[in-house]
Symmetry: C2
Subunit: 360 residues, 2 copies
């Protein structure tokens, strides 16, 4: 078995020791005589896993008691629609801060269910910066303010949580949850698709403040109601049990590694190393304003488009995978999620330096 250095943007690299554990108990989990995915979500064993995983996430993120933690399905994209279905009405207003392609999608999916206002956007700057806070035009009547702290495609990340007053702040943290310490109490709701820093695709973690749940209307199907899922402890219907189990292993791994302060410093160092090589190369380029550069996703371009195919082919031959940029942007992208080691980053920068020397 040879494991590649995996820079995929998502689904993405998982910690190897998580995969080794999952592998070792795939046919017999916890002496049950069955795989975790063969057991009832309402059985004693899975219920214990569910409770412990929630507590581990609460410990890691310091989630206050007046927030519920939900393990749902549908991907972040479904929640783009569920958020206004739960917290607003079609004739009410919600503010959206758009700093990349995912913010744009969040607006598009929300539109049938709320008057989605774009209170700030950097589309005019090709999503290479964060619009300055004093230029945002927030509406005080907004039911919530939605933003995307890290834009996976454009590689743009907020370095601080924006101040939005009394309006609940909702964040799609699919690509930066658990990447560094965070003050959860500043948010009305945080949600994240699991396939970057939590585990595998098909699971969404939602962290939502109690008072927001009081808004969930009876006029939607119960399966779409966050209040119903909270009341049912995410067992209103059958959850993605294997995805939840993998998340539970990742949470344990994060605790063993020392928690989010340690992970955050590691992520900062990985990102600094790669941006440093890009900026110092005279060959590669990253168009994002330095103060808005993502620690998680580093898009970069080669000086000539015709070098892209040989770059990817040679990288693949060297065991470096997942480097092709998103089709919306082109170029390359290296995603540096928690499970990507500094050793993988060193292997990448060595390859990049050598490639630049040969083609520069």
């Amino acid at each position: 078995m040879t494991r590649a250095c995996n820079f995929s943007a998502g689904p993405a690299a998982l910690p190897e020791e998580v995969l080794v554990q999952a592998q070792s108990e795939l046919l017999d989990w916890g002496h049950t005589g069955a795989s975790v995915m063969e057991l009832s979500h309402r059985g004693r064993d899975f219920m214990a896993l569910a409770a412990e995983s929630e507590q581990d996430l609460r410990d890691l993120m310091g989630i206050p008691d007046h927030y519920r933690v939900l393990f749902l399905q549908g991907g972040a994209t479904q929640h783009f629609a569920q958020i206004p279905m739960n917290f607003a009405a079609p004739d009410q207003v919600a503010d959206y801060i758009v700093t990349g392609a995912w913010g744009e999608k969040a607006v598009r999916e929300a539109m049938p269910y709320v008057q989605a206002r774009i209170a700030a956007t950097s589309v005019d700057k090709h999503f290479t910066r964060i619009p300055p806070r004093d230029a945002w035009s927030l509406d005080p009547r907004a039911r919530y303010v939605h933003y995307t702290p890290n834009e996976t495609i454009h590689g743009v990340e907020f370095q601080e949580v924006p101040e939005v007053g009394d309006v609940p702040l909702i964040a799609d943290m699919s690509s930066d949850i658990l990447s560094r310490p965070l003050d959860v109490s500043k948010f009305g709701m945080i949600y994240a698709g699991a396939q970057k820093n939590i585990g595998a695709s098909g699971l969404v973690v939602v962290i939502v403040r109690d008072d927001l749940l009081e808004r969930c209307p009876d006029s939607i199907a119960r399966i779409f109601s966050y209040a119903e899922h909270a009341a049912g402890h995410s067992l209103f219907n059958t959850p993605n049990t294997f995805g939840w189990y993998l998340a539970s292993l990742v949470f344990k791994w994060l605790k063993r590694e020392g928690g989010l302060a340690v992970i955050g410093e590691r992520n900062r160092a990985k990102a600094n190393r790669l941006y440093g090589v890009i900026d110092g190369s005279g060959f590669y380029s990253n168009p994002v304003e330095p103060s808005a550069r993502s620690w998680m996703n580093v898009p970069f371009f080669l000086p000539r488009v015709e070098l892209e195919a040989p770059f990817l082919a040679e990288a693949g031959a060297a065991g470096l995978i997942g480097l092709k940029g998103h089709r919306a942007l082109g170029g390359m992208r290296a995603s540096l999620y928690n499970a990507v080691t500094m050793e993988s980053v060193e292997t990448l920068v060595d390859f990049m330096t050598d490639f630049a020397r040969r083609h520069g």
Copy 2:
């Protein structure tokens, strides 16, 4: 490692050779250097898996070309709501045939989006039979007729596809898809949560006729539109890639076993064996009318409630798990999905016979 005889109603037993294969390639799938769950759903390797798995399902079920096959999320429960969102309007009528708890839930989740008529129900018979077809009061204006061919909790199964004229027939086949041959062309749509006969929870397979997709309105979020998912080949957003992969392994296993004709005969024999022991015991009982008995889920009762705890404890000690009945019905239940072997059924009936002898 000791594998139990697993009669769980879902999530449920998987074929052991599927789990062994998944285990062997969990850290390095197809020489990619990564787990299947660490790779982009839009990469060459996963796209090939997606295409091949769809073809395998088409081969197994004989799905005609004018049907789309989708691999989605949300569980069947979410699709209870999505079906009327896609195929009807709140002021239109849809007919529901209710033969158990899942049919009731389907109605409840649909109610915000359609005038859900109960065209037939066996609730007055405590869901122990199928209402005779000539007693159904179908509405010719109905946008569709929905039914649940197999009711997992009550153990009631249609032995034939009902005739409903020109109105599209929609079936929640979560617990009996792939359990025997089926004429797909009689349906407008078939859907199934994967956690019984397809694979693991967190995946839903939808088989939908092209003409129904033309009904999907622009007024709902795109993430809820079956037409969008069909246009995007189930990659409109990130699918549950590991769940899809497991399904692909199960489809290959079914083909190796000889397909649905072979599987159907095997399931018939397993069910006959267990019902025979129950009926012949003078100890156990199953309340369902013989013509409506499920091949997949066999609820049964002990003569005295106080025997239930020792039955479950002794069964567990003998390596028989997942036998506790649903909390809505009580008693016991043995689910006999495709992955449950005749050997497991023989172990169960031996145990049951011995238990009856000692407690009768």
